[in-house]
C-alpha cells in the first residue's frame, strides 16, 4: 500500500528560502502532527502538498499519485482545511456542501445523505439553512470541515484547524478527526496547541527554519532529547537545537 504522502527534496523560496529540501513520509491511516515556530515553513509545505503553491524543486506523491504531474487525480483523493475557513458568506451550510459535492463529483444521493449527517454530527442542524455570513469562527470552521469531509477524502490536511475554537467546538473537531483516522483516513495537521498533538498524533514532525529537524513518535522524540518530559519541553529543546545551528537565540527560535 503506498504512503498517503511522500515528499522528497521539497524547496520553496519567496524573497528568501522558506522550505529547504524537506523529505517526509506519512503512512496511510496515520495521524501526523507538524509542529514548528511561526514562520518555520509548515503552512508553505502543506500548501504545496494541497496544490496551492508550486514548489521550486522536489516531488510530492499522494497515495501513489504524482501530485505535480497529475494534480487533478491527487486532489480528488484529498481535502484541505485552512486556518481561515473558506466559506461563502451568502451560501447556507447545505448549499456550501452541495457546491463542494459538485466540485468533487460526489453521487448526489450520497452527498445529500453525507451532508445531512455531517451537519448533524457537527451540531450545525439548527443553522443548516442560514447564510454563513453571520456565523462565528467556530461555526465557520465546522462548515469548512464538513466541506472537507463531504467527498470522503483519503487524506485530510488541516492547517491550524483548532485556532479560535471554543472548547466544545474543538472537542467536536477532534472527535471527527479521530473517527476518520479510525476509519483509515490519513490526517496531517499543523498546530500550535502541543497538547492536541501530544494526545492525538501517532507521529510528530518538527519544522524549524524550513527544515524537518526531528520526526517520530512522542517516545522516539523523548529518547532523542534524552529525558522523560512533555512535548512542550521536547519541542522547545529541538527548536533551540535547530536555532543554535543557525545562530539564533532560544526565544527567537520559539
Amino acid at each position: 500500500m503506498p504512503a498517503a504522502l511522500s515528499i522528497s527534496g521539497l524547496t520553496k523560496a519567496f524573497d528568501r528560502p522558506v522550505v529547504k529540501g524537506v523529505d517526509l513520509t506519512v503512512g496511510a491511516g496515520e495521524f501526523y502532527a507538524l509542529l514548528g515556530p511561526n514562520g518555520a515553513g509548515k503552512t508553505t509545505i502543506l500548501r504545496m502538498v494541497a496544490g496551492l503553491l508550486k514548489p521550486d524543486s522536489g516531488s510530492i506523491s499522494i497515495l501513489g499519485i504524482d501530485a505535480l504531474a497529475d494534480p487533478v487525480s491527487a486532489k480528488r483523493r484529498m481535502a484541505w482545511v485552512s486556518d481561515e475557513p473558506m466559506v461563502y458568506d451568502r451560501l447556507t451550510p447545505l448549499e456550501y456542501l452541495d457546491f463542494v459535492a459538485g466540485l468533487w463529483q460526489v453521487d448526489p444521493a450520497r452527498a445529500r445523505q453525507t451532508a445531512h449527517d455531517l451537519i448533524d454530527w457537527l451540531g450545525l442542524s439548527p443553522h443548516a439553512n442560514e447564510l454563513c455570513g453571520g456565523f462565528s469562527k467556530g461555526m465557520l470552521q465546522k462548515v469548512a470541515l464538513a466541506g472537507a469531509l463531504v467527498h470522503d477524502p483519503d487524506l485530510i490536511i488541516l492547517d491550524e484547524p483548532l485556532t479560535g475554537l471554543d472548547a466544545g467546538s474543538a472537542r467536536q473537531v477532534k472527535d471527527v478527526l479521530r473517527s476518520k483516522t479510525a476509519a483509515g483516513v490519513t490526517v496531517i495537521m499543523t498546530t500550535h496547541i502541543l497538547e492536541v498533538a501530544e494526545r492525538m498524533a501517532e507521529r510528530i514532525g518538527v519544522i524549524a527554519e524550513g527544515r524537518l529537524i526531528a520526526e517520530g513518535t512522542l517516545e522516539e522524540l523523548r529518547t532523542r532529547i534524552g529525558r522523560e518530559t512533555t512535548l512542550e519541553e521536547i519541542f522547545l529543546d529541538l527548536v533551540a537545537q535547530g536555532a543554535a545551528e543557525n545562530g539564533l537565540s532560544k526565544q527567537d527560535a520559539a
Partner: protein, 512 residues
Amino acid sequence: MTFAPASLPWLAAHEFRLAWRDTLAMMTGGRRVRLFGWLAGGGTVFGIMLLIAWFAVRPWVEAGIVIDKQALVMISGMGLLFWTVTLSQALEAVTRVYYGRSDLDLILSSPASSARLFAVRAGTVFVSTTALGLVLVSPLVMALVLQDGPRWFSAFLVIIALAALSVAVAMAVTRLLFRLTGPRRTRLIAQIVAGIVGAGFVIGIQAAAILSHEGFSRLAFFQSDAIVAAAPASDSLLWLPARAALGEPMPALLMIALSLIAFAATAALIAPSYGRLATAAAGLNHVRGQRRPQKRAFRPASQRQALRRKEFLLLQRDPWLLSQTLMQLLYLVPPALLLWINYGASSGDGTFIVIVPVLVMACGQLAGGLAWLAISGEDAHDLVATAPLTPSTILRAKIEAVLTIIALVMAPLLLMIGLAASPMALVTAACAAAAAAASTTIQLWFRVTAKRSMFRRRQVASRAATLCEAFSSILWAGTGALWAAGLPLAIGPAILALLVLAIARLLAPRQG
C-alpha cells in the same frame, strides 16, 4: 508636531497618515519610481483636458460673457448636475464611515470619543469629495481663468461649497435612513439612493430633453427658451451659486460661509449618535439570514454546472450588484425612451446612433464588474483551487456564468430593437458581445485573489485594468454608433479597441 492623544487633531493626523500611505501604496505599489509615472501621466491627461476645455469655452469667451438669465440658468444647471455626482459620492463615503470596519472596532473599544472620530471622518469625506470635484472641474475653470481672467478662480470656492453641502446632505440622509429603516437596511438603501442620485438627475434631464426636443444634449436643454422663460428672475437668490462661480465676491463668500456652517452643524448634530449606530452596524456581522432550502440542491451536475450555479446564487444575493444593476438599468432609460418615441417610425435609424453605443457601453461595464466578482472575488479561493478540476475549467465556468447573466440582461433590449429594426439588433448584439468579451478578458488577464467585499477597491487595485476596460467599452460603443450610422469608419474604433486589448495583454501581470 505632537497633539494630545485622542484629541481631534490627533485623530485627524492619524487619519491623514493612513490615507496618505494608502494612496501612496496604491499609486506606487511600493516602488517610488512609479510616482513619477503617475505625475507625468496625470500632467498629460490634465493638459489634454485643458486643451479640450480651452476650445470648448473659446466661442463663449470670444462672444463676451454676459451674466444674463440664460447664462445663469446654464451655469446653475451644469452646477446641479455636478452636485448630484458629488452628492452620490458623498453618500457612498458616509455609508462607509458607519459600515467600514477596519480600525473602527479598535477605536470604538478605546476611551477615545466616537463623536470626535465621526467629526474627523466626516472631514475626510469632505476633503475627498472636494478633491474629486476639483480634479473634475479644474481643466474647465483653468481654461476660463486663462481666457477670461482670474475672477473664475472663485469657481473653486463654489466647488468647495458644493462638496460641503453634499457631505452635509449625505450625513443627514444616512442618519435619517438609520432612523427610518434601521442599520440592517440603511447600507443597501443608501447605496441605491447614491446610484439613483448619481444617475437619476442626468437621466431625468436627458429624458426631458428627449421628450421636449427629441434630442440628447443637456446643454441644449438648459439653453432652451422654455426653460429660460420659466426660470426665476436674474436677481433671485437661486442664482447665488452661479453668481459666485462667475466671480461676484459677495455671493461667493456667502455661499462658502453658508455651506461650511451647514456641514459643521450637521456633523455636530449627528456625531453624538455615531458610536451607537456604528456599533449597531457592527452587530450585523453576527446576524444570520434564513434561506429556504434550495429545491435544486444535490442534483446531478457537472463540475462546471456546480461552479456556475454557485456564481449565480452569489451574484443574485449580492446587494452591491443590485444597486449597480439598477444604475445600469437607469442609464438605459433614456435610450429606451428614444426607442419608444421612435418605435414604428420608419425613419428611426438615426435614433440608433444614440441607443447602440449606450447599450454597448453599459454592457461592457456590467461585464467588467461581474467578471471581477466571478473571477477575482472568490471568497473560497483555496477550496476551489484544491478541487479536482483544472484551472482552465474553473475559469471557463466562471466566464460562462458572467456571459449568461449579460445575455439575460441584454436579451429583452435586443428583442425590442429587433422589433423596431432587426439589422440594428444585430449591430447592437455584435458590439455588446465584443465589449462584454473584451471586459471579461481584461478582468481575466488582471485577475487577483481577493474577497468579494473588496469590490469597491478593484478599480484602485489595478488602474491599468480599469482604464483598459473603460477605453475598450468606449471604443466598442463608438464602433456601434458608427456602424449604426452606416459609416465604414466603424472599423477605426474597432481596430483601436483591439489595440487596447493588446496593450492590456502587455500590461497584465504574469499569472503563476
